[in-house]
Symmetry: C2
Subunit: 386 residues, 2 copies
Amino acid sequence: MKNFLLNMPTEIFFGKNQIEVLGKRLEKENVKSVLLAYGKGSIKKSGLYDKIISQLSGISVKITELPGIDPNPRISSVAKGAELCRENKVDFIIAAGAGSVIDCCKAIAAARYYSGDPWDFFIRRTSVKKALPICAILTLAATGSEMNGGCVLTNEETQEKLAMGSIRLKPKFSILDPTYTFTLPKNQTVAGIADIMSHVFEQYFSYPDAALQDYMSEAVLKTVIENAPVVVAEPENYEARANIMWAGTVALNGLLELGKDGDWATHMIEHELSAKYDITHGVGLAILTPNWMKHVLDGKNCCKFAKYGRNVWNITEKDDMKAALQAIEKTREFFNSIGLPQTLSEIGIDASKFDEMAESALKNTIVGTFKKLNKDDIVEIYRMSL
Amino acid sequence: MKNFLLNMPTEIFFGKNQIEVLGKRLEKENVKSVLLAYGKGSIKKSGLYDKIISQLSGISVKITELPGIDPNPRISSVAKGAELCRENKVDFIIAAGAGSVIDCCKAIAAARYYSGDPWDFFIRRTSVKKALPICAILTLAATGSEMNGGCVLTNEETQEKLAMGSIRLKPKFSILDPTYTFTLPKNQTVAGIADIMSHVFEQYFSYPDAALQDYMSEAVLKTVIENAPVVVAEPENYEARANIMWAGTVALNGLLELGKDGDWATHMIEHELSAKYDITHGVGLAILTPNWMKHVLDGKNCCKFAKYGRNVWNITEKDDMKAALQAIEKTREFFNSIGLPQTLSEIGIDASKFDEMAESALKNTIVGTFKKLNKDDIVEIYRMSL
């Protein structure tokens, strides 16, 4: 285990009707002017919007709205949001939605105090020195953004999708009410599940091993695998939705990566797909993950895939390589069983941009630590996914 | 899963030489006067004391020492510590040691701002309104006190050992360097291990079930069970010490109990033993735990003990009750295998105070939620442990 620093300042209010803490919690922060950001309006249909407004009207606070944030949020929304914050002297941001809304709000929170182009944060031209405080009100179990300091934005001009992070962007508090996920369309629920599992894989399949972190990763995977078919069959099953939602937070709140390096190759390769084709992140991950596993698998690391297979899928095969291959197949079958696509062709992507995307993924960075990938590796993983 | 609030403000600096952050971290808090509390002097032998002083001498800070805190810390040390804090305008407490030192410092931190008897916090005559900030520098993996807001103190006059807690008592930061546990005597190492496992049992065997929290509990148990024999055989095995140390923190930093009730009967029954006989807490827990399990086991809850047996001990028995009994036996054998006593007789305790201790445990409180225990139950568990 490597040395680590753990810092989890985000308070989590988890469960039914926790929205009722919002007004008092903002009063505690002495908030005077909020930016309320959300997506395409599902929070209006579900009634969450009204609940938020009701909480805010109970305290004397100015409300500025930023609706319409895209599923793969655009850097252009960030500049707009930052300007709104400056104009309205916003001192707190409420991000009500899925990871896209939360990520966009984090970038806005940082851009509020930066006079240059917000994309500078993502190309490492600057770092976050100061940021507005945020709360996330989560409506989709997927990104873990509700309890970490990371965000991923798309630059529509350059067709890049990049991540940045800072401890200053960790939400002050987040409200996680599993009932808000009851009305999600099935395709969003399962894409979120793939995202959660991919977050775990990126940390589990990385060096060095760390006993508790790896067992905890298996705990998250088992929880998701057992509860995913339940939420697909019974979208309003509270316990299953709660288990998936909490698993999504733990999957990326830092606990699983403590003392480890993280791989993140599959995420970096997927970001190219969603930047170029605007596909759902979790769908891209579900397609790529089994192929990444198969491509990087070798005689040295097969023991880790075998461990995954035995501890998560109850595979009894004694030979590590055989167990590893079975585990990878189980992963593919699972994604398929909950209704996720298995190939890029199914979602209308052909091989025409594979070279370009592989080059773009490698621009200014290393892809993969569990196994470092070069351009040929990445193209091969795309090709296996066709 | 019940609704929950998660709040983890404690920063953790984990790993080799993390003591080097101490000076700078205190400077960041603008600390001017510290109380440095420790136990019977093992930190002087190990060199940790010198490292702390070296860090403190690098910043302009007044140092007041409180040495000699007992293993089952006494409420009388609290009054003394609080007085030292007032006299020396202490604005930060450094607790360098095991849980006993950290717990004592938490009580001091609260008592500093309370003019009455510090025992009032423990008998619920008052609550913590304000407290000095604390950092813990951990030397024994056991209590989890380094990342939670609880503390347990002994009142030598009344022979009571009681717990209290507050979010205000969570350490500001803690330094966890596994090398500080290299020189621990074996009996302390294994008592700490029993304490860690007991913390997990108290949360795992409780209602309602919570999928991820229960799998994470199993993760902690597996980590401890696999690494315990290693640290016993090779006390300077860094990786094993690190795994045990981090498991000890996760076992009681709140994560495993989220949305659950917690049982805590075994702890409450044990506190009577250490209050009356001044035995090591972890030793008492190791003796009582398998007997608590056997006593509360019934046809309704045997599935949970069976789950524990199958997931943690790889028991393949299909019948729940048989699997449960095997799991309990495995638990007893494990404690025995690492050198912990199995009976109260071995540590010189007879049946003479069983009635008195059972009555005292039940004074003003309920004992057990997984199964509520009455006086006869408690006496029977003591008797089974003879």
